[in-house]
Amino acid sequence: MNKQMGLKSIVLAVVASFCFGTAPAQPAESRTRVSVGMIGKLDQVLIPGGELEAQPTSDPLAKIVVRVAETFRHGDAFRYNLEFTGMEPGRYDLTKSLKRKKPDEPTANMAPIEVEVISALPEGKIEPSKPNAPMIPGWMLYWTKLDVLVVVWIIGLALIWGKSKTTSKVAAQAELPPQTLGQHLKPLVQAACDGTIKPNQRAELESLLIQYWTSKLELANDIAPGLILTTLKNHAEAGPLILQMEGWLHMPVGEGMKNSADLATLLKPYDSISESPTMPSIPGKGQA
């Protein structure tokens, strides 16, 4: 068990040393050379003399900005971790941006700490290059595809709308039912007068005649439904027809048959009824 643990720790140590221990040290040149706008760092820089600090600047167009990140005592001298950011390409001496904390100590005897700020752009170029031209053809671009789809969708919609309109128009023309009371009433009256009316059409004929007179006398909204037929029966023109219809359609056989010829006579004027939505009065009859 202990043997296995020992072997594992050795393997881990080897891997760790491979990963971390074998990393190459950053060359001094690369540490003193940075691109414009990037932060450069110089660690453990030994500068003899009293303690230094960054020289404050209020110039917004300063070409380099220096910051003392950390300070360590080193005997009579100090070691510094320095950070700098170059705003323009060129060579700069960092000591010019430093000053003694005690103002009476001179800075003239300091060795220069030179750094270089370089530009990533070619000489004379101050703006970045535009991105490379797309590799995909123009018609495959997103907005192009979207435009095409919109056009296709609109055309499709227009086609569907046009087709449905045509179809419904054709269907309506083919199966257009009679819309007015007159259009309904006329064939039924004709069939009743000819004696060819079907049994299932009799109720419709009667209902239409009741409706005809209800509309003509403007009873629909004025009196209760229960009184409509009573009123119609008592009306000079509508009464005989309604009563005759009643006898024909509702009386037991033998009682209603006897006056069927009179009913045909009564129905005859309705044969020439107008088919317009607002029907004029029956020809030969007075206005109600």
Binding site: Q179, A192, S215, P252, E255
Partner: protein
């Protein structure tokens, strides 16, 4: 023009029956002024065995009407005032322990009568309404373990106050459907009201022991019936002799179908409504001394048979639609094509110049 060849001629209504109807109406008219329609609906219910729901504000002589009708035909009559704390046993009856014999004996409730006036039926709890409506449908009542047949004829006349709705239990559609007719009572005309007041001023007081009480209309009811149950049974039989033409049946079927397809209606008429329309129309024809039904019967009874069976949908209510308006549309032009135009709201009621 041919009529229905298969229809067998029927005799005119029996004279005895028409005399009986006239006598009953005259007797009712002695006490109740006007309300001809209600009397007619009561007789229709009585002749067909269908139950009647009366909707109206208090004071329209509903109780008096039922009371005088029962006395006119020598029928037993009970009145139950429905309240929220009423129990089913209060109507149907219950088993009571007799301490002397230590046995249970059945005490029959007020439902065991010919005419039962269920006053303000919507004030009772649903279980009481259900118990009554079940008895109305089956015409028998089970108390304990024993089942009793209700007397024949048996007719429930229920009343509802349409205004005061707080603390009431609205009858559901299924139970409303059990009522063959639902008649909405209206106020008497000024002439009728004048006559009511004139009669009332003539009532005077009635001496009672050492005191006296003001007489009411109930005091002037004649206790001598003008007809017997036998006359009533004859009338009920005569109703079944009334001829119903195929055309009339077509009218009824069309009307019921329209109610099921009308866009303003959430619930249309059940087949029971069609049956009720035909039954009631036959009875009305008999009352009007006819041996055949006509569309007039249909038009007169449509409101009472149909309106309580249909329910307006939300859109129709929001549009201000009412039951009577829908009924007018239902009774509009016959035929499929015109029906569609009515549904679309066009050209159905074209005015005639």
């Amino acid at each position: 023009m041919n009529t229905d060849a298969e229809t067998v001629p029927k005799p005119a209504p029996p004279a005895a029956t028409t005399d009986f109807i006239k006598a009953v109406r005259a007797r009712v008219g002695e006490v109740v002024v006007g309300q001809e329609d209600v009397v007619e609906r009561l007789l229709i219910s009585l002749f067909t065995g269908g139950h009647l729901l009366l909707q109206g504000v208090p004071g329209l002589a509903k109780t008096l009407l039922v009371s005088v009708l029962s006395k006119s035909i020598d029928l037993s009559f009970s009145r139950v005032q429905f309240t929220v704390d009423l129990l089913p046993s209060d109507i149907l009856g219950s088993e009571i322990l007799d301490p002397r014999t230590n046995t249970f004996h059945t005490r029959k409730g007020p439902i065991f009568t010919n005419l039962l006036l269920a006053d303000e039926i919507n004030r009772a709890a649903p279980k009481v309404q259900s118990a009554l409506l079940e008895a109305m449908q089956e015409r028998r009542v089970t108390i304990g373990s024993e089942t009793f047949e209700l007397p024949a004829p048996f007719l429930v006349i229920a009343t509802q106050n349409p205004i005061e709705q707080s603390g009431t239990f609205e009858l559901p559609e299924a139970q409303l459907d059990r009522f063959m007719l639902c008649h909405r009572l209206s106020y008497p005309t000024p002439d009728e009201e004048r006559e009511v007041l004139r009669r009332n001023t003539r009532l005077g007081v009635r001496r009672q022991e050492r005191g006296a009480v003001a007489k009411s209309e109930f005091d002037v009811l004649s206790h001598e019936p003008v007809g017997t149950i036998s006359d009533l049974v004859n009338a009920m039989e005569a109703v079944h002799e009334v001829h119903v033409s195929d055309t009339f049946t077509d009218h009824v079927v069309e009307l019921v179908n329209r109610s099921r397809n009308h866009p303003a209606l959430e619930l249309g008429c059940s087949p029971r409504a069609g049956i009720a329309l035909v039954k009631a129309s036959r009875a009305r024809a008999l009352i009007h001394c006819r041996n055949y039904v006509t569309p007039e019967d249909l038009y007169c009874l449509a409101e009472d048979v149909i309106l309580h069976r249909v329910r307006l949908n939300y859109e129709a209510l929001a549009d201000g639609m009412t039951g009577p308006k829908v009924l007018r549309e239902l009774l509009g032009p016959f035929g499929d094509n015109l029906r569609h135009t009515t549904r679309n709201g066009t050209a159905a009621h074209g005015r005639v110049s």
